[in-house]
């Protein structure tokens, strides 16, 4: 997650991006002549890395015309997740997912040298589909209409099933780190978000001490380890013809408790004005289909625990964002505003703790 808004107009950056892409792809596509960059568009995707969609157009050595839809993600170095944000890891994860049934973009190149593409970057395929924001009225209407048709709720559930039933060892994903037995997964997550809070430099609050104390005292044991997406919801999936064409936003994935993802789907924080989970799937359908297809029983108590862990994560995100503005690493006023988002996250934590 990062916030854009650095100096320079969109037009200035479009010209720069077009130039570096043409040069970069010209060296890698075995083209006969220059590679043209067409329909270059920057997507506004909230706090994520800088994301550009475009078509690469070129002529092959045997004279055939080629056009390929691609996506460029760049890390401008002011990501909310700070040292946790690693395009190299994203590239590696997406490459591993190619051998699985999880719908995800195929990656082509990872360029860690910031001098080549203007910032560390990766280039992946442009997948067909749309990703309406569930935080906007039009997006919520999109999902409500899709829910009525009945196809997307099933596809949404099945994509998460695919994530949780993937043989992560066979896919080579154990490089993400495998929690030890017992409550190690929960404790690792607590440590991760406490680290981000410390890095933020944002003042603490005793509600955070209460929350972390409760989380440590009540950490659940995890018997089943699966690949966990970490942010599975509408707004992080591409939808094409009412089906999930790609799961996006592979920044928070871990090997861990599948209830972590289930809790994120169940939480009322990921829906607005509806009982549909993530604005799109009836609860009964999700629970029944998920349990049937994964063989994993949904544990409501563990889900409640993880909803409190998400409160810690939410506070960490907003503290990191506010800290980026406070220490001058980013001048985007949307980050300055997030100091009050920290308050909202703390209030939610207090409510979840029962006071």
């Amino acid at each position: 997650m990062s916030a854009g808004g650095d100096a320079g107009s969109i037009d200035d950056r479009s010209a720069e991006v077009e130039a570096v892409l043409s040069s970069y792809l010209g060296e890698r596509l075995e083209a006969d002549g220059p590679v043209a960059i067409e329909e270059l568009t920057r997507i506004a995707v909230g706090w994520s890395h800088e994301t550009w969609l475009f078509d690469a157009v070129w002529t092959t050595a045997d004279g055939s015309p080629e056009r390929r839809g691609l996506c460029l993600r760049r890390d401008p170095g002011n990501a909310l997740l700070r040292e946790m944000s690693d395009l190299g890891e994203q590239f590696r994860v997406l490459r591993c997912l190619e051998s699985t049934d999880i719908p995800a973009p195929r990656v082509h190149w990872h360029e860690p040298d910031p001098d080549v593409l203007g910032a560390p970057a990766l280039i992946m395929e442009k997948v067909a589909g749309e990703c309406p924001s569930p935080w906007r009225r039009a997006g919520r209407q999109f999902y409500a209409d899709a829910a009525e048709r009945g196809v997307l709720p099933v596809s949404f559930t099945d994509a998460l099933v695919a994530i949780h039933t993937t043989d992560w060892r066979a896919a080579g994903l154990d490089f993400l780190g495998v929690p030890g037995p017992g409550d190690d997964f929960a404790r690792r997550e607590i440590a991760t978000w406490r680290t981000l809070i410390e890095q933020s430099g944002h003042p603490g609050h005793p509600i955070l001490d209460d929350l972390t104390g409760w989380l440590e005292a009540n950490a659940p044991t995890t018997d089943t380890l699966t690949l966990v997406h970490g942010a599975y919801r509408t707004g992080n999936i591409l939808i094409d013809d009412d089906r999930v064409s790609a799961v996006l936003d592979w920044e928070l994935q871990v090997i861990g408790d599948p209830m972590y993802d289930v809790a994120y789907v169940l939480t009322e924080l990921n829906r607005e004005g509806t009982d549909l989970l993530s604005n799109v799937v009836p609860r009964e359908l999700f629970v029944d289909r998920y349990q049937e297809r994964t063989g994993i029983e949904i544990d409501e108590n563990r889900c409640r625990y993880y909803q409190l862990l998400y409160a810690l994560r939410s506070a960490a995100f907003w503290m990191s964002a506010a800290g980026l503005y406070a220490d001058g690493r980013n001048t985007d006023l949307r980050l300055a505003r997030t100091q009050w988002s920290v308050t909202v996250a703390l209030e939610r934590a207090a409510t979840e703790l029962g006071y």
Binding site: I10, H205, P206, D209, D210, A217, W340, V344, A350, Y355
Partner: protein, 136 residues
């Protein structure tokens, strides 16, 4: 003109006059966000005095209640010491070490710890409610 009123009016000018006149999407967003921030800062300035007084009263009441709770050596000695140290806390924010000490014990097993945590939480709720008046 009061400072909070000035900030509210600056916010309104940015939102209603400057923002709509800006062409670029990013810079227009910045103008609106500046309006949001000034509005919140204005509320913060306007309520600073009342909130500070409420916080002071809450801390005094909290310390009195905690002192009564650990009176006659009820509860672990470490808790009594933490309560005593917390008496020097001039803000709700500085109650963190007391909470950390509470969680070194088991609030569910020790009624004194549980009551202490519950009482502290009452003060925390009052504090976060005051902050939410600004944040909403």
């Amino acid at each position: 003109m009061d400072t909070d009123e000035l900030l509210q009016r600056l916010s309104a000018t940015l939102r209603n006059e400057v923002g709509p006149a800006v062409d670029g999407e990013y810079t227009r967003t910045q103008a609106y966000m500046a309006a949001v921030i000034l509005e919140k800062v204005g509320r913060q300035v306007g309520s600073a005095g009342a909130h500070a007084e409420a916080e002071r009263r809450d801390l005094v009441a909290l310390h009195d209640d905690l002192a009564a709770l650990v009176d006659d050596d009820r509860g672990p000695p470490a808790l009594t010491a933490a309560v005593e140290r917390a008496r020097d806390a001039s803000t709700i924010e500085s109650l963190g070490p007391l909470i950390v000490e509470l969680y070194r014990h088991d609030p569910e097993a020790d009624p004194v710890i549980g009551q202490a945590l519950s009482r502290v939480r009452t003060a925390l709720r009052a504090d976060i409610d005051r902050r939410m008046e600004i944040a909403r």
